[in-house]
């Protein structure tokens, strides 16, 4: 396990938006995530998953309650946003975007960054991005932008990784590649990962533990520890056990199944 990977402890957190915090998203949520754990959060559109991720990543402050990172001093964190395209910097080329943290830092030498990025791409089998490295984000497709956003997160070698619908724009081939890359990254560096998705398969193919959330207001309505070890093969999808768990979680979220 990565020594620096922090655990996350959220105590009674609530978050409301609006000028006077009149729009509650969730109330009194308690969460414990162990260092190096891979947690998937599954729930319907508009349930507040992104807001929860913002609060857990400390990009937004909780209206009430506290979020603490356990056993971490200084750590690198990375966030892949649902608006992956908006989160890229249009004035930087693709490779500069991937290495943006180092690119922005005055101290780091910039000459070797292209090489570093290329090495990352071959390490994670993402060589499809290679011809795009010197293009600008506005000249590549939406799916390619999402690949860049993910590569950017991998490049940071984060101890804490937040993924908000990270595969939403990918075609079957790239989705498969990225699922593999993500698992490879997790297996080698063991960061603490929080992945949010409304795609049950994304969650089931990657996470060790799944939290299902319901909406209005958002609350955690179920929790599953997945029995499969990582990395997982895509073929897992066709097994009966996968289908069973998938059905169980879905019916809990969408049918309010009390099982």
């Amino acid at each position: 396990m990565n020594k620096q990977s922090p655990g996350i402890e959220a105590k009674n957190i609530s978050k409301s938006w609006g000028d006077n915090e009149t729009l509650p998203v969730f109330e009194n949520i308690n969460l414990n995530i162990s260092p190096g754990e891979f947690v998937g959060i599954y729930g319907p559109n508009g349930s507040g998953k992104t807001t929860l991720l913002y609060v857990l990543s400390k990009l937004e402050q909780a209206s009430k309650g506290t979020v603490n990172y356990i056993n971490s001093s200084k750590h690198e964190s990375a966030f892949v946003f649902q608006d992956y395209k908006g989160s890229l910097y249009n004035w930087l080329k693709v490779f500069e975007n991937i290495a943006f943290q180092k690119w922005f830092s005055e101290k780091e030498p910039k000459s070797s960054l292209v090489q570093d990025v290329k090495q990352l791409l071959s390490e994670y089998n993402l060589t499809a991005l290679r011809p795009l490295l010197t293009k600008y984000p506005y000249d590549i497709s939406g799916g390619e932008c999402q690949l860049v956003a993910l590569a950017r997160a991998f490049f940071a070698k984060p101890a804490l990784l937040f993924l908000d619908e990270p595969f939403s724009a990918l075609d079957v081939k790239n989705r498969k590649l990225l699922l593999a890359a993500l698992q490879q990254m997790w297996s080698t560096h063991k960061p603490t990962v929080l992945l949010v998705s409304h795609e049950i398969d994304d969650v089931l193919l990657t996470a060790q533990r799944v939290l299902a959330v319901g909406d209005n207001p958002m609350k955690i309505i179920g929790e599953w520890s997945l029995p499969w070890s990582l990395p997982r093969a895509q073929s897992l999808i066709v097994t009966d056990e996968f289908a069973k768990i998938q059905q169980e979680i879905k019916s809990k979220v969408y049918l309010g199944d009390k099982k």
Binding site: A78, F79, S87, Y136
Partner: protein, 247 residues
């Protein structure tokens, strides 16, 4: 495309020549293109007129560069400190709406009838324009870009220079483009006003007073080309350094 541009020039000259040929106006009001062409040649071969062109260009660059820098700094301050922004919002809008030449007497009272008074007024008005656009550009920053940087631990000056100002740059550039035109207008207008001894504005007004109409037209054409060139220069800069604007 270039061919059409040249066509536009030829068209103007043709219409001009046509009006002259009809003989509706005296040569004093509207000299023929060929006469003005001769005056233009005299202009570009005379040290005195070239130095007037040089001085106007110099005043322009000094005012434009200082007002751009000041404007961006003021814009950053008011966008970063909302209280200061609220306090300054009325004065900024007021002075921005006030036609600058109306303020010239005040500037003259304080700074004397000098280049300092003229350039200060131009800087004052142009900086306001840039400040307003800079503030607006920063307010409209895509929040997700700032969040992405913050998530990676980028804060403070690095966040401002690497993300916020870059994100606001297309809008700042719009402000700069407007301020460029305003700066040139004001420089020439103020050169026409009391106490001025040099510059293209002064030339135009003197030629007008002394009925040297042909020379006046030549100077006006030179000012036109100066403005046109400055705009082209700006567009070149824009294409290279703000290539992501509108994308």
């Amino acid at each position: 495309m270039k061919r059409y541009v040249i066509l536009g020039i030829i068209l103007i000259v043709l219409i001009w020549q046509l009006i002259v040929s009809v003989g509706f106006f005296s040569q004093l009001v509207l000299p023929s293109p060929s006469k003005v062409a001769v005056a233009l040649y005299t202009f570009v071969t005379s040290v005195k007129s070239l130095s007037d062109l040089g001085i106007t260009t110099f005043r322009f660059f000094v005012s434009f560069l200082i007002s751009s820098g000041l404007g961006v700094i003021i814009g950053v301050i008011i966008s970063r400190f909302p209280r200061i922004g609220s306090v300054l919002s009325f004065p900024l809008d007021f002075f921005r709406s006030l036609p600058a030449p109306a303020l010239f007497p005040i500037f003259m009272l304080f700074l004397g009838i000098s280049d300092i008074a003229r350039i200060s007024l131009v800087i004052f008005s142009s900086a306001l324009i840039v400040a307003v656009y800079t503030n607006h550009g920063i307010q409209n920053c895509h929040q997700i870009k700032i969040r992405a940087a913050k998530a990676a631990g980028i804060r403070g000056y690095s966040l401002l220079s690497n993300v916020i100002l870059r994100e606001a740059k297309p809008e700042i550039a719009t402000g700069l483009r407007i301020s460029l035109s305003v700066t040139l207008i004001l420089i020439v207008v103020l050169e026409m006003l009391a106490g001025s001894t040099t510059g293209l504005g002064k030339r135009i007004i003197d030629d007008h007073m002394l009925f040297r109409t042909t020379d006046m037209y030549a100077s006006i054409i030179i000012v036109g080309f100066l403005g046109y060139l400055l705009n082209r220069l700006f567009l070149l800069w824009h294409r290279r350094y703000v290539h992501w604007a509108g994308k």
